[in-house]
Symmetry: D2
Subunit: 377 residues, 4 copies
């Protein structure tokens, strides 16, 4: 370990934003970062006020992320990492600016608003020595990692069926015309790219590939917009084919009344099945062929993932995101010290995961427009 805290900046996340504050909580909780710079808003007054409230030094409270990247890269005490938590359409420009300046990035998902932006950013990222993490928060739940570890162990045998779903209710009506700021940009195609697919479908897709290690190769999709006047999808049901012959389904919906945040994954192999859902994030169901169902508690008997808390003490949402910041801290410190990449480099969602998410959205939308034709990607 290096003998100082890592220096963290942020783009976006000013007053009124949602997820920036969660990123700051998560990073703070790890005690491995100090938050010292930000372009918290593109509006100078709002940026300044947000910076003041968050105790940033005035000279490190920017309103222009390009200037922030240029300035920070020149400082001896410049930031080691920037969290990009803007609306999606700014992810590529902001992340690209910092990566080009040699500063590592923790970018919120989806990676970008469009596949084209993702591919451009991919080039920049590959030419940069800096790191790119993508905040697929659910990959930070310990029981998601436990599930991945169980699959890797071969306990499920050959995977046959993968079922992922992510229903939410919050866009069941036209919230975007009712003054809900989050709804407004998330249903504006210019800012979000896609609707439920980008906002939560990518979470479900990443979770499915992250846990199973399988690669989806083709999709057949039914994509709907149920709320009148809405310009993006709010419900999508997708059939998936994986490279090894497994079949899957994925449902993303933001009009599922009664479901606050119902991400869930089920995996059926020929030796066992496994189930996990974020609403019961601290347990896993494991069902071996011909045996009784098993409930695995986080950090309890037979687990392989080291718990940050004893069993029975639930890991919450912020704590899951904090896990990604711990991974990033380990990767950054290894990089700063010239050490080989740590084990967590395999767990922290990165460039490839981000790009795949955009390819998934793109293929699903194309299949949906083409009456469900199987579409490779």
């Amino acid at each position: 370990m290096i003998s100082r805290r890592l220096r963290l900046g942020m783009v976006g996340g000013g007053k009124g934003a949602f997820f920036g504050a969660v990123h700051r909580q998560a990073a703070a909780m790890t005690q491995r970062y100090e938050f010292i710079a930000g372009a918290l808003s593109s509006d100078p007054a709002r940026a300044a006020e947000s910076g003041r409230e968050l105790l940033l030094a005035p000279e490190r409270s920017y309103s222009d992320f390009m200037k922030m990247a240029d300035t920070e890269t020149l400082r001896d005490d410049g930031i080691d990492l920037v969290a990009v938590v803007t609306p999606n359409h700014l992810h590529a420009a902001a992340s690209g600016a910092f990566l080009a300046a040699g500063i590592s990035v923790m970018c919120d998902k989806p990676l970008t608003a469009t596949l084209e932006e993702a591919l451009s950013l991919e080039k920049i990222a590959k030419n940069s020595g800096a790191l790119l993490g993508v905040s697929y928060t659910n990959a930070g739940f310990e029981m998601v990692r436990e599930a991945r570890s169980i699959v890797e162990s071969g306990a499920l045998g050959n995977i046959r069926v993968i079922r992922a779903e992510f229903p939410q209710e919050w866009l069941a009506t036209a919230e975007e015309t009712a003054g809900n700021k989050q709804a407004k940009w998330r249903t504006d195609p210019a800012q979000s790219g896609a609707g439920s697919l980008g906002d939560i479908g990518t979470h479900a897709f990443h979770l499915a590939e992250f846990v199973t290690g399988q690669r989806c190769v083709s999709v057949s999709a039914e994509v709907d917009t149920f709320v009148a006047g809405r310009r993006v999808d709010d419900n999508a049901s997708v059939q998936l084919r994986f490279s090894n012959g497994a079949k899957g389904t994925l449902w993303a919906s933001q009009i599922a009344i009664g479901r606050t945040n119902g991400l869930r994954l089920e995996i059926y192999g020929d030796k066992a099945s496994l189930g996990w859902g974020v609403e019961e994030a601290n347990i896993l169901y494991l069902c071996p062929l011909g045996k009784q169902r098993i409930v695995i508690d986080r950090a309890s008997h037979g687990t392989s993932v080291k718990g940050h808390l004893p069993s029975g003490h639930a890991q919450g949402f912020v704590e899951a995101l904090a896990r990604l910041y711990v991974d990033m801290a380990e990767c950054l410190e290894a990089s700063l010290l010239g050490n080989p990449a740590p084990a967590s480099a395999n767990l922290l969602p990165g460039l490839d995961d981000g790009v795949r998410g955009m390819k998934f959205i793109n293929a699903v939308l194309r299949s949906g427009h083409d009456d469900g034709r199987w579409t490779a990607f």
Copy 2:
């Protein structure tokens, strides 16, 4: 009510069978039938032995269902109803024989092994004055009827998304080659017609239409056989389009390790959602837009379906099937007395439900063979 018990016969259900015994239990439980005749097996010795064990009079223990139909129809004390619980490929012939003889039938699902047989039987049934019930057992759960009643009340508003699933584990390996008699005929296309689609997919399909009142008009399907050597489907994932614009999904699987009998239905409208599953058959989840989730207990506050037991006293599987036998008894008695059809005539699954199930299987298999092309039916 008539002042005697209805006279019940059975085709199939001899020693070693499974579902015939459940039908006898269910009918007995209603106390409205006496079981007095049967062609319990096509093997004369087995038929006789089964009849003896079940206390049938020797002259009413047949081995040939054609003879049974011919004989019973001529007796003054002939049976009022016959339960047809043979393997699927005999449903059409047996049900047809009794209907043609003017004897009502409770036929197990799927209605027949093939769509062609179903259409032939449909003609016979329409020309017969006798009744045809189809034992979609789940339609007998009180909370399924409560769900239907809630949908009918308009509480869900316009239905947007319908999700049905029925995972089971019992065919995750090649049970049919391991001496399992039930597995053997259910995976033999000549006897069963289809695999998971016929055995459980039709249950899920009927449940979806029964509760929502919507009619599916087109399907796009991915149909798989995961167990090597198996000759029928054992996993099918289907996208559904309904006549009013609702979209749906249906998953039937008999290779889902860890799931004993996971039938579940979720319905999302623009005013509320509703969820029911057979593993928690005595409750419903109702989620009105903008309000807290509600758990409705069978026979408790705010229910409209009259309970056969006080709340908290669970209705089990046999009791659900018994409900269908009560419906049939009400219909039969009305018919015998020349009364108008009772309300339960709308609840007892019948000819149309049976035929639709066969059309569903047929369309799904065609779509699956055609790479998921949307297929109308």
Copy 3:
């Protein structure tokens, strides 16, 4: 097996009653009884009408259970078994009359209204060659028997803590003054003996002893009546000491708003724990020391109790009671044939269980009146 159905009579259970109809359903479902005689009400007109509706022959529809006992015992085709489903204060007289006449009895719980009546009945029963079963329905759930079998196997090691509870809500207000017939007699000390303790506390107590095989030797109780004007207990919390050193608690409440029928048992040994509740009657939780929690499905992997239905097909309340009638049929047939008592004789709740229930109520009430003093029984 004998080659006829057993002949069943009933005392109580006429129009407007609740549990008599459940007993008739349960017995019918087994297909081993024919219901042919009854003293369904002490009111002659009501008795006659109830008998007609239930298709009893007029001469076997009595209004006086003494006359019924005297008459049936003399008939060649007299009843083999009578179900006594009257209010509690008639259990002793009715059961005693039939036992004295040599006719076996299935008596509803609690065995009697008072301990004195129970002890008198005990003498009669011991002098009678006839059988006495007590309808502690929960003992008929297959997973309760599975639990008992697991405990017997030694899997739990030495039992340390036993926790039983049975909360209900239906008497949270003064239903007895609002025209609820069931509430009226159940809260009338002259008819019921005790309140929640007799109605449901005895269920919880029997379940605890039935599953664990332990014998409670002393109680310390807090007994309350929360509803103004009520003359019996409606909430009781009891500490238990068992003969082998295990400690326990038992809670019976009929004022627990929101709980329809929450019977639950947890057993903690030094090698494992076990949990079962009637609201999830078809599964058991087993937690071995140092291992993951296991969910055991009825009739599934690793179970020892033979299921009457395949796994995943829930056993409901009537089906549980039917199990007791199957046990009784096996015992009766063995008795009629002069065979040794079958295995089910150890499972069917009987005289000793009934008497212990009354001793339990008596000790709890005495302890409650004496400020919780530990009271042996």
Copy 4:
């Protein structure tokens, strides 16, 4: 708000400790504290190493908490708050030293090892202008506060029955002799005072009083030590009487195999009941009389407690503790600025809660020793 972070110190929590790290995470997560001083161990070398790892300045890494109190109180940049996370027997001395020096304290529960120590500390605290918080973590769960708010609203009517339980499994065997450091001090009466009662019983007791607003006035207890050789209680079952006539039960056990951390509270009033458990910390069950059961999601429809995250994003254990640190920050800042006490002063567990916990333990142990005699406190 003041324009700086609050300065936090810690006593205890060095290498190998458990709960100190959780306190540091929780405080960091709020972003309102900087951790800058500690007496992390009484062993100088261990204290120094722990301080280095946690990036403390060497001169503020103490091994003697008395010296730390004396030194920090004299510094211009001295700590505003100290977290006391030692074994219980040092709570009184450490907390007393800082309070006497005018430094506020967040003391872990139970407040002290003995009632005598608690009463001494109470005097010191009352003479100090500094604040004392007690880390009853569960009081930081938003749904616990929602529950308290619902009770305060009168929605439950008069409370009749309160049931609290906290089963754990981790001391089901003699862990204290197997090298488990946590088990060792927690089962040593000289360090812990009591066993399961102090470690978890006080949590359950605080939760019951915190949510209901009722005051327990008398207890009748059965206190056991099941593990051979253990010198403190490991299982206790308590009957409770409250000042307004409500009756309650409390079960604390550390030998409950299969239960990792099963804290649960149920409250039954005459208008509604309420249930919450830490294993489902983000929901509440509310059951109004004569209505259907309601599930209330954190931060969702109809909640009054402002959520720190949107509904469906679970608040975990560290986040609950962080909530107490936010409360303390608000109180401290109001104190530093000379403002009146904020609303959170009523929510942050404090001196009175800590002292009541010790009185509860004391009364329970006395009742247990006196064969369950009702014991006032």
